[in-house]
Amino acid sequence: MIVPPLYYIALSAVLFFIGIAGVLTRRNPLIMLMAIELMFNAANLALITFSRVWLNNVGHIFAFLVVTVAAAEAAIALAIVVVVFRQAPNVDVDQIAELKG
């Protein structure tokens, strides 16, 4: 590895926190979900980097599982987003605040 592994990790951290910022600042649920996908991918990048560093392919397995889970989660998430917002005038999580207190 020519590039020090910590650079990869730093890159993954940047992506991860961009994801967090996305969750915090966006109101469109779809974009929030995308930001969460971004966070999963950042974690995957870290996993694969570490896997390479340790030469331990369990990181690959883990990343594979994460991708699978992310797919399942995306399916469910999008289904929920659809049922929540199909009737709503705005696709905006701020408007979904009936439960509070």
Binding site: L15, L24, T25, A75, R86, V91, Q95
Partner: protein, 196 residues
């Protein structure tokens, strides 16, 4: 190093674009670029199988799903409307908070010494070669032997996804008519009442 730098710039830029874009469709495009770049990065880390999976599943399946939903949600009611911002003050603190956390992590990374002792179990090799680190053979063997349990669990996770989506949306078919009609009906009732 240059590859890494280029990819990093692409990754960060596309990620920022994805979360900052006005339209979700733009976000999807940003994310697509991001995922592609990630796949390249994975290749540089000798993870060829994961790189393919990344393109197949993420770019091929998940993002398409997103596009579908965007289309579905915007079909009936035009482009996405946004209601009043209930937490207008969250934008800057949210960004600052993320930046702060990032700063902390980067500082940590800068100060740390990372001294892994790689296990010599399987050799590194060129991308595409069989039975080298990150190859499909290597991956598959690990998946079906030592990691059998996690693999089996994923089966149930996918089942949950299928049944769950059916369950959530099945309720929908019997659900109340869309809200607009509902409102109209209510208005009509009110008018009838007034007449009385």
């Amino acid at each position: 190093m240059i590859t890494f730098a280029t990819l990093s710039i692409i990754l960060v830029a596309s990620a920022v674009f994805a979360i900052a874009a006005k339209s979700p469709v733009h976000s999807v495009v940003g994310l697509l670029v991001n995922f592609m770049a990630l796949a390249v990065l994975y290749l540089s880390l000798s993870a060829e199988f994961i790189a393919f999976i990344q393109i197949l599943v993420y770019s091929g399946a998940i993002l398409i799903l997103f596009v579908f939903v965007i289309a579905l949600l915007s079909s009936g009611i035009g482009p996405f409307n946004v209601g009043p911002d209930r937490l207008p003050k969250l934008l800057i603190p949210g960004t600052i908070l993320s930046a702060l956390a990032l700063g902390l992590v980067i500082r940590m990374l800068a100060n740390t010494s990372f001294t892994p002792e790689p296990r010599i179990g399987i050799a590194l090799g060129p991308i595409g070669a069989a039975n080298v680190f990150g190859s499909i053979g290597d991956f598959g063997r690990a998946l079906f032997t030592l990691n059998l349990l996690p693999f089996e669990v994923t089966a149930f996770i996918l089942l949950v996804a299928v049944i769950g989506v059916v369950l959530v949306t099945a309720g929908e078919s019997h659900a109340m008519p869309p809200m607009k009609i509902h409102r109209k009906a209510r208005k009509r009732e009110a008018i009838v009442k007034e007449h009385h």
